[in-house]
């Protein structure tokens, strides 16, 4: 165990985990303990936002695992995120109990409203938290497993895979839009009251969710690190770089791909499950192909194949979005669109690549100035 840990934790990883720990401690303290009048007070609004960014960061890490290390570009990862979200949303709906507007003890409001007589079978069990948590992992995981099993065995690769993942999420979006499906149609699931008995509108619960998101992100990140630094990780990188050659060397490429794809879907599901109570709604637009494409863009902006980069990319792009939609509502799309173009053209390795380049330049400068030899920049892993 310790060897796995020490292997997984390089400088980037340590710094990243440290930063997460700082967020997990400092933000709740500044929100709850510091009085509102103080300049250091972090408003509840910010807590919810940071929590949201953390969930997106976990989604980005999960995409990076398959795209950055295994070369599978999924343009439908938002589907797994949303499925995890729906699983959590169903639990939260059941928790409302008879506090809905119609006061029905079992049926959620939208079912009463559409004259549904009884709870559909697939809603059973979601009143139990453990069951919902299980489903958060199982539903996206199972879908990814079945989908991957077919797709990888048939050797669907490259853009074909990307496009059919998009077809998958698009089909799911249309399906969830249907009111007959029993997931609330276009409105989705909303008006949640509490989670495990904690009021979702209280600051303490929000802080708790933020900490949970930090822990989930850290755990997800560590799992991914552990995988990519292992022998297994070497094989998936080999698959990324030369799939046929790896297959000819005797590795069962399909099995490797299937494993990371399923794992990645589970991580995305967890991200979705944490996202829903923090934003207070889950609806079919989360399945929109555009959302999945955006998530891929976070990864590219942060730096593909670095795990830390995508997390930072997700946080930065979404922070930019929050800020621009508030401050420059008329022109923010120009800025965001421009950012994507500029990053692709000038930062092919994303922010992490930029950091590497800067450090390289710095060390060369130092080399010249002080003649002190500095180790070769460790961005190789990010190739």
């Amino acid at each position: 165990m310790t060897s796995v840990l020490s292997r997984s934790l390089n400088r980037h990883a340590l710094a990243f985990l440290a930063a997460l720990a700082v967020i997990a401690v400092v933000v709740p303290v500044l929100n709850l303990a510091v009085p509102e009048t103080s300049a250091f007070h972090v408003p509840t609004y910010a807590v919810a936002l940071i929590g949201k960014y953390l969930c997106f960061a976990l989604l980005a890490v999960s995409i990076d695992l398959i795209w950055g290390y295994c070369g599978i570009l999924s343009l439908g990862h938002g589907a797994f995120f949303a499925l995890g979200g729906y699983a959590m949303g169903m639990y939260l709906m059941r928790q409302i109990g008879d506090r809905g507007v119609y006061g029905d003890p079992v049926l959620p409001d939208f079912m009463v409203f559409l004259n549904w007589g009884e709870l559909p079978w697939y809603w059973y069990g979601f009143d139990q938290f453990w069951f919902a948590c299980l489903m958060v992992l199982v539903v996206p995981g199972l879908l990814a497993f079945v989908f991957g099993w077919f797709a990888f065995r048939s050797r669907v690769t490259g853009v074909y895979l990307s496009i059919i993942t998009q077809a998958l999420t698009y089909a799911l979006m249309l399906a969830f839009f249907r009111n007959n499906m029993g997931f609330g149609g276009n409105n989705g699931l909303t008006d949640f009251k509490d989670l495990l008995g904690f009021d979702l509108q209280s600051d303490e619960t929000r802080a708790g969710l933020l900490i949970a998101s930090c822990v989930a992100l850290a755990t997800g990140f560590l799992i991914c690190r552990a995988i990519v630094t292992s022998r297994f990780g070497k094989v998936i990188v080999a698959i990324r770089d030369a799939e046929s050659r790896t297959r000819f060397l005797g590795y069962r490429v399909e099995a490797y791909k299937l494993f990371v794809f399923t794992l990645s879907a589970c991580l995305a599901g967890v991200a979705g499950a944490l996202y829903v109570p923090q934003v207070g709604i889950i609806n079919p637009s989360e399945f929109a192909p555009a959302n999945s494409i955006e998530a891929v863009i976070w990864v590219a902006v942060g730096g593909r194949g670095t795990l830390v980069g995508p997390a930072i990319g997700a946080a930065l792009v979404n922070f930019a979005k929050t800020w621009l939609t508030g401050s420059f509502p008329e022109i923010w799309l120009f800025v965001l669109g421009g950012l994507f173009v500029v990053v692709t053209l000038f930062l092919p390795k994303g922010i992490m690549g930029l950091a590497g380049t800067l450090r390289g330049a710095l060390s060369r400068f130092r080399l010249k100035a002080g003649g002190v030899a500095v180790g070769e920049p460790s961005t190789k892993a990010a190739e």
Binding site: R11, L14, A15, F16, A18, A19, L20, V22, I23, V27, A39, F40, V42, P43, T44, Y45, A46, A48, I50, K52, G97, D98, R99, G100, V101, Y102, G103, F110, F113, L114, N115, F177, N179, G185, N186, N187, G188, T190, D191, F192, Q201, V279, G280, I281, S285, I312, A315, L316, F319, T322, W323, T325, G326, P329, E330, L333, I351, A355, R359, L362
Partner: protein, 431 residues
């Protein structure tokens, strides 16, 4: 090594600090009253919502010309929730917590309203919602200035039944909650009027549906059973243009199978050549063609404000105007913008609407409105062919749905949005 990890930690920390700085910078500017405008300016809903943002800016400018409110200037705060429903909730929170707005005017789709509801409840602020909607809701912090189903759908069906002698009904809609509910209500209503079930056809299509060949020909088929047939359309904004184009081209004339729409106004018609559509109907509480001095004045101001002499006005704009004027009056009456006081003082306030009546805010947070039925003209306007004698009171809970016929909303005496008149309990409190 240390430099490296430091730079990374800095980066991560910068995000946190950056956010903090933003809040710090948003300290209340001097003596203005802020009004939040929460309408999508990008994404799929921008098509409808941008107009409302402009309308709000015009209303606020006008009010400021009149000297503002409580001696202070009004300051609009515009944000872009980008047609993204979770972002609506986030932006609502930003407006209330960060910008400290006194009230918010916004939302279009039901899902965006549902998304922000908990935020307004938690932070105790005020939302004015200007669009016709499915009803089945009454929340203390929300004022519904658009039509409830009984202010739009039912009078329209009555008109078709009495004036056109319609016996057979196609209820066509986009598959989301507003059409679903409206059609449920209408189906129950039609059956109660003795229309047999086989004379009602219900059809749902996805958002943005653009290939209407099959459905229009199905409608034609359904309409050729020897009974007068009409289509009641709750098709959502974007899908209407291809729908009407197909209707026109397949030669379905209003004289034969009239279509009455609840989501098609002047703005939507601006994208279509309406010559083949003359005579199809729409039911609203306002049309640009309303012939009153108030409306002429309003349209003139609007066209001047947008610097576009052809710019059309529509029903949700009027709803925002009514809502805004009600809020102004309520604030003046209360002498403060404090939400609790405004919520108490706004009920019972009457302001003129653009069709010559006085709309009143009711205890269920809906308003009284006239119902107008208009026929499409070849210039993209509506000719009003029928209107209710007086104003119709908005009903939050439909009497035609089994789940809601016993419910009642009253925020003055009962202090409850979903009081059950049978159990004598306020349902939402979980009692």
């Amino acid at each position: 090594m240390s430099s490296n990890s430091l730079s990374l930690r800095n980066l991560a920390a910068a995000v946190v600090v950056g956010i903090g700085v933003l809040w710090a910078s948003a300290v209340q500017a001097a003596d203005t009253i802020k009004v939040g405008i929460l309408h999508s300016l990008s994404g799929t809903m921008a098509i409808s919502e941008t107009t409302l943002k402009d309308a709000m800016l015009m209303l606020i400018e006008e009010q400021n010309k009149k000297g503002g409110l409580l001696g202070k200037k009004l300051e609009p705060v515009v944000v872009d929730p980008a047609s993204n429903w979770p972002l609506f909730a986030e932006k609502a929170r930003e407006l209330i917590e960060k910008d400290k707005v006194a009230a918010v005017f916004g939302c279009w789709t039901s899902v965006s309203r549902k998304s922000v509801l908990p935020v307004f409840e938690e932070l105790n602020s005020i939302l004015f919602y200007p669009v016709q909607y499915e009803g089945e809701e009454s929340q203390r912090n929300v004022f519904y200035t658009g039509a409830a189903p009984n202010q739009q759908a039912i009078p329209a069906v009555d008109y078709l039944m009495n004036e056109e002698g319609v016996k057979r009904w196609v209820l066509a809609g986009t598959d989301y909650v507003y059409p679903r509910t409206t059609n449920k209500i209408l189906e129950a209503y039609l059956i109660s009027k003795g229309v047999p079930k086989e004379d009602i056809m219900i059809n749902y299509t996805p958002f943005g549906h653009s290939d209407w060949q099959t459905i229009v020909s199905d409608i034609k088929k359904f309409g050729s059973a020897g009974k007068k047939t009409a289509v009641v359309s709750t098709i959502n904004g974007d899908a209407n243009v291809p729908f009407y184009k197909e209707l026109g081209n397949q030669g379905i004339k209003a004289e034969d199978i009239p279509v009455v729409a609840f989501s098609v106004g002047e703005e939507e018609l601006a994208g279509i050549d309406t010559k083949p559509l003359v005579g199809h109907l729409a039911a609203w509480n306002y049309f640009q063609s309303v012939d009153t001095p108030e409306n002429t004045d309003f349209v003139k101001k609007w066209q001047a404000f947008t610097k576009d002499p052809k710019r059309v006005s529509n029903d949700p704009m009027e709803a925002h105007m009514i809502g805004f004027n009600m809020w102004v009056k309520a604030v003046e009456k209360a002498g403060t913008t404090d939400p609790d006081k405004v919520i108490d003082s706004i009920v019972g306030i009457k302001v003129p609407n653009l069709s010559g009546g006085m709309s009143e805010m009711l205890p269920n947070h809906h308003i009284t409105k006239p119902v107008l039925i208009g026929e499409v003209q070849d210039d993209g306007q509506f000719e009003i062919v029928w209107q209710t004698d007086g104003l119709v009171a908005g009903d939050a809970w439909s009497d035609h749905l089994p789940g809601s016929k016993d419910l009642k909303a009253d925020w003055v005496d009962l202090k409850c949005g979903n009081y059950n008149t049978v159990t004598k309990k306020c349902g939402g409190k979980g009692a």
